[in-house]
C-alpha cells in the first residue's frame, strides 16, 4: 500500500515534469483529419498527409523557433469521430490549426468545434458551400474549391453549349444536395430546366436503377452530383447501359484520381471543374514531379491545396509572430496568397479563399500524349466569376 502510493506520487511528479518540459519546447501543432480509408481516401488521404509534410519540410520544419508537428486521424466519414478528434487535439495536444479533408458532413461538424475552441480550421477536401455560408465561423477558411464554383464552372459551360435539360443523380448528404442545388440554380439562371433528380445513399453498390430513371426523364444532361467511387460507378453504369449515347454526362466533382482509375476510354469528353491541375505550368509540374516521386501518382487539387494551405498558414504565423488564433486569422485574411497552387488569392470575410478555377475537358485516349496527360483547359474562371463577388449573406460574419 505504502509502496503503491509512493509510485503514484512519483508518477505524478514525473507527469508534472514532463508537461513542463513539453511546454518549454512547445511545438506548433497542425492536425489533419480526413477520410484515410474510405471512398474519398484518394482525393486527399495519405497523399494529402504527404503534401502537408512536404510543406512543413519546405518551410524548414520550424516557425518562430518552434518545431512544427503534424497529427493525423481518419474520420471514417463519420461527423462524430471528426468532431471528437478535433476537440481532443484542441484540449490535450495544443492544436494550433486543423486541416479538414473530404466530406462536407464531417467538416460542418468540425467547423462547430473550430468556433467553440477558437482554432483555425482550413477546409480542403470538403466541397459544401455552406461552410462559408450558414455554417461559417470566424476561424474557418474554405480553401481548394466549393460547390458554387463547381456549378458555375461545369454546369454553366454545359448549358451554354446547348445542354438545357438536366437530371441529377445526387449523393444523399450535405455535399450532394448543396452541389445539386448550386448546379440547378446555374442551369435555370441560364435558361435551362431541371427535369428531375434522385438521391442515392453514399456508397451504393449499383447505380443502374437510378440511371434508368435518369434516362426515362428524357433529359439531355446527366448531372452527377456525387464524388469518388460513387461518381466512377455511376459513369461506368451510364456507359454500360448506353445512356451516354443519348445523355451528356456532367461530372460536377471529379478528381484526377477518379479519371485515372476510370481510364480515358470511359471518361473522355467529360467536362469538369477543378481548382488546380498538375500540368498547368512549370511550377505545378515541378510540384507534381516531387509528389510523384513519393506517391507514384500525380497530386489531386486537394493534395496540392493541402500543401498550399499549410504553407500559407505558416507564413501567416511567421508574419503575426504568434500562433494566437485571432492574430493568425487576421493575418491570413489580409494576405495576398501566392504559391504553386494559387495566384493572387485572398480570403474573403466569410472565409472563402477566392482563386482561379479551371473548367476542363477530359482528353480522348488519342489526345493524351504522356502519362497523366488527362485534361485540356476549356476556360480559366477568375475567382470572382467562380464564386461571385459578394459573400454569402447566410453567413453571420458578413455585415448586412
Amino acid at each position: 500500500m505504502k509502496l503503491g502510493s509512493l509510485t503514484g506520487a512519483l508518477a505524478a511528479i514525473f507527469g508534472v515534469l514532463t508537461t513542463q518540459a513539453a511546454a518549454a519546447a512547445d511545438p506548433v501543432v497542425i492536425g489533419d483529419i480526413d477520410d484515410l480509408s474510405g471512398v474519398y481516401a484518394d482525393a486527399q488521404g495519405q497523399g494529402g498527409i504527404e503534401a502537408v509534410n512536404m510543406a512543413i519540410a519546405d518551410f524548414g520544419g520550424s516557425v518562430l523557433g518552434r518545431k512544427i508537428v503534424l497529427l493525423t486521424a481518419d474520420h471514417q466519414n463519420k461527423p462524430d469521430i471528426g468532431a471528437t478528434k478535433f476537440r481532443e487535439w484542441a484540449d490535450q495536444n495544443g492544436l494550433n490549426m486543423l486541416l479538414g479533408g473530404s466530406n462536407t458532413g464531417v467538416s460542418i461538424a468540425m467547423a462547430k468545434v473550430a468556433a467553440a475552441k477558437k482554432v483555425p480550421f482550413i477546409v480542403i477536401g470538403a466541397g459544401g458551400a455552406s461552410l462559408t455560408g450558414a455554417d461559417c465561423t470566424p476561424y474557418s477558411v474554405h480553401y481548394a474549391y466549393d460547390t458554387t464554383a463547381l456549378a458555375n464552372g461545369t454546369a454553366s459551360t454545359i448549358v451554354k453549349n446547348g445542354g438545357k435539360s438536366w437530371f441529377f443523380i445526387t449523393a444523399d448528404y450535405a455535399f450532394g444536395t448543396q452541389l445539386q442545388d448550386a448546379a440547378a440554380r446555374v442551369v435555370t439562371a441560364n435558361g435551362g430546366k431541371v427535369l428531375g433528380s434522385v438521391r442515392v445513399p453514399l456508397g451504393a453498390t449499383d447505380f443502374s436503377s437510378f440511371l434508368l430513371q435518369a434516362q426515362s426523364s428524357g433529359a439531355q444532361v446527366l448531372g452527377l452530383a456525387n464524388a469518388g467511387t460513387d461518381f466512377s460507378n455511376s459513369l461506368k453504369g451510364a456507359n454500360e447501359f448506353g445512356i451516354t449515347k443519348t445523355m451528356k454526362p456532367a461530372a460536377l466533382l471529379a478528381f484526377i484520381s477518379d479519371i485515372h482509375s476510370l481510364t480515358l476510354q470511359t471518361a473522355q469528353g467529360l467536362y469538369l471543374t477543378t481548382g488546380w491541375y498538375w500540368d498547368l505550368n512549370e511550377e505545378t509540374r515541378a510540384f507534381g514531379k516531387r509528389f510523384f516521386a513519393k506517391m507514384h501518382r500525380e497530386p489531386t487539387m486537394d493534395q496540392a491545396g493541402a500543401y498550399s494551405a499549410t504553407l500559407q498558414y505558416l507564413n501567416a504565423v511567421k508574419a503575426a509572430g504568434s500562433t494566437d488564433s485571432d492574430k493568425v486569422m487576421t493575418e491570413l485574411k489580409q494576405a495576398k496568397l501566392n504559391d504553386m497552387f494559387v495566384k493572387n488569392g485572398y480570403i474573403r470575410a466569410d472565409g472563402l479563399m477566392v482563386h482561379n478555377m479551371y473548367v476542363m475537358q477530359v482528353k480522348t485516349p488519342a489526345e493524351s500524349k504522356y502519362a497523366w496527360d488527362y485534361y485540356k483547359v476549356i476556360k480559366v474562371m477568375p475567382g470572382a466569376e467562380a464564386d461571385g463577388t459578394q459573400p454569402d449573406p447566410a453567413c453571420t460574419l458578413v455585415k448586412k
Partner: protein, 293 residues
C-alpha cells in the same frame, strides 16, 4: 399503365435490374450459407474474398494477359488457395470455440486484405473492361439490358443450381451434410473430415471470388467493393435462414427485386430496406424463412 405512380415500363425495367442484383446476392450468400451451414463459421471475410476475386482478375489481365474467360476459373482458384491457407493456419483452431471468435478473426482478415489492396491500388480502384463477346445491349422494349448483365444472371443462377445439386443430390454432398451433423461418426467410417472441411471453406471462398470476377466489368474494382456488400449479403443469409442453401438463393433473388422496387418508389431508403425486412423476418421467424427452428 401506372403502378404506384410509376409507369409500367419503368417498373418492369427496375424489376429486371432487381433480378440482376438479386442473382448476385444469391451467388454471394450461397458461399456464406455453405460455410456457415457446414463449418459453423460466420465468414466476415466473404466480402474481402469477393474483392480479391475481382482484383485477381484485374491483376491477371494487367500482369499476365489472362482474359476474362480464364479469369472466371483462375481467379476463384487462386483466392480459394488463399482461403485454404487461412483455414489451415487460423480458422481450424476455432471450430470448437464460440462462433464469435471466427467472426472476429475473419473480420480482422477482411480489414487486413482491404488495407493491403488500398495501399497498393488506392481507394478509387481500377477499371476492368467488359469482355468483347458480351458487349452491347438487348433491347427489351421497356428498357435496354446490357448483354453482360444478362450473362451475370444466367451464370449466377447456374452456379447456384449446381451447388444445390452437389450438396443435396450427390454422395459427396451427403458426406458433407453428415460431417456437419456428426463429424466423429463420419470420421469413424474412414472419411477424412478435416480435408472435407478445408475443401468446403475453399469452395465457399471460391464462390465469393467468382462473384467478384462477375462484378469486375460492371463496378469499379476497388478495395472497398466488398465491405459495403457483405453486410447486405449477411442480411440476405439471415433472412433466408443461416446455413440454408435454398433459403440463401431464394431470399437473395427476392431481396434484389424488392430493393429494385424501392429504388423507384423511395430511393433514399434503398440501402436500408433489406435490413427492415430482416428485422421483420427475425421477429416473426427467428431462424429465418427457411432455417430450422
Amino acid at each position: 399503365m401506372i403502378v404506384f405512380g410509376v409507369p409500367l415500363p419503368a417498373i418492369l425495367g427496375q424489376l429486371t435490374l432487381g433480378l440482376v442484383n438479386g442473382s448476385f446476392y444469391a451467388l454471394l450468400s450461397l458461399g456464406l450459407a455453405v460455410i456457415f451451414g457446414l463449418l459453423g463459421i460466420v465468414n466476415f471475410a466473404h466480402g474481402a474474398f469477393y474483392m480479391l476475386g475481382a482484383f485477381a482478375a484485374y491483376i491477371g489481365m494487367q500482369a499476365f494477359g489472362v482474359n476474362y474467360w480464364f479469369a472466371l476459373i483462375l481467379a476463384p482458384l487462386t483466392v480459394a488457395i488463399l482461403g485454404i491457407i487461412i483455414e489451415r493456419l487460423f480458422l481450424r483452431h476455432l471450430y470448437r470455440l464460440d462462433p464469435l471468435y471466427g467472426l472476429l478473426l475473419t473480420f480482422g482478415i477482411a480489414l487486413i486484405a482491404e488495407g493491403i489492396m488500398r495501399d497498393r491500388f488506392g481507394a478509387s480502384g481500377k477499371s476492368y473492361p467488359v469482355p468483347h463477346l458480351l458487349r452491347g445491349v438487348f433491347d427489351l422494349g421497356f428498357m435496354v439490358l446490357p448483354i453482360y448483365r444478362a450473362w451475370v444472371v444466367a451464370a449466377s443462377l447456374t452456379v447456384c443450381g449446381m451447388t444445390w445439386f452437389l450438396l443435396e443430390r450427390t454422395r459427396l454432398g451427403a458426406i458433407l451434410r453428415a460431417a456437419t451433423e456428426n463429424a466423429r461418426l463420419v470420421q469413424a467410417f474412414g472419411i477424412n473430415v478435416p480435408l472435407i472441411v478445408m475443401g468446403t471453406y475453399g469452395a465457399g471462398v471460391a464462390l465469393a471470388a467468382l462473384a467478384g470476377v462477375l462484378a469486375a466489368p460492371v463496378v469499379q474494382v476497388s478495395p472497398l467493393m466488398g465491405s459495403s456488400l457483405v453486410i447486405v449479403v449477411f442480411a440476405v443469409v439471415v433472412i433466408g435462414g443461416m446455413g440454408s442453401i435454398f433459403g440463401a438463393v431464394v431470399s437473395g433473388v427476392s431481396l434484389g427485386l424488392i430493393e429494385g422496387f424501392t429504388k423507384v418508389i423511395y430511393p433514399e431508403a434503398s440501402n436500408i430496406v433489406v435490413f427492415v425486412i430482416m428485422a421483420v423476418v427475425l421477429i416473426w421467424r427467428p431462424a429465418g424463412l427457411f432455417g430450422k427452428e
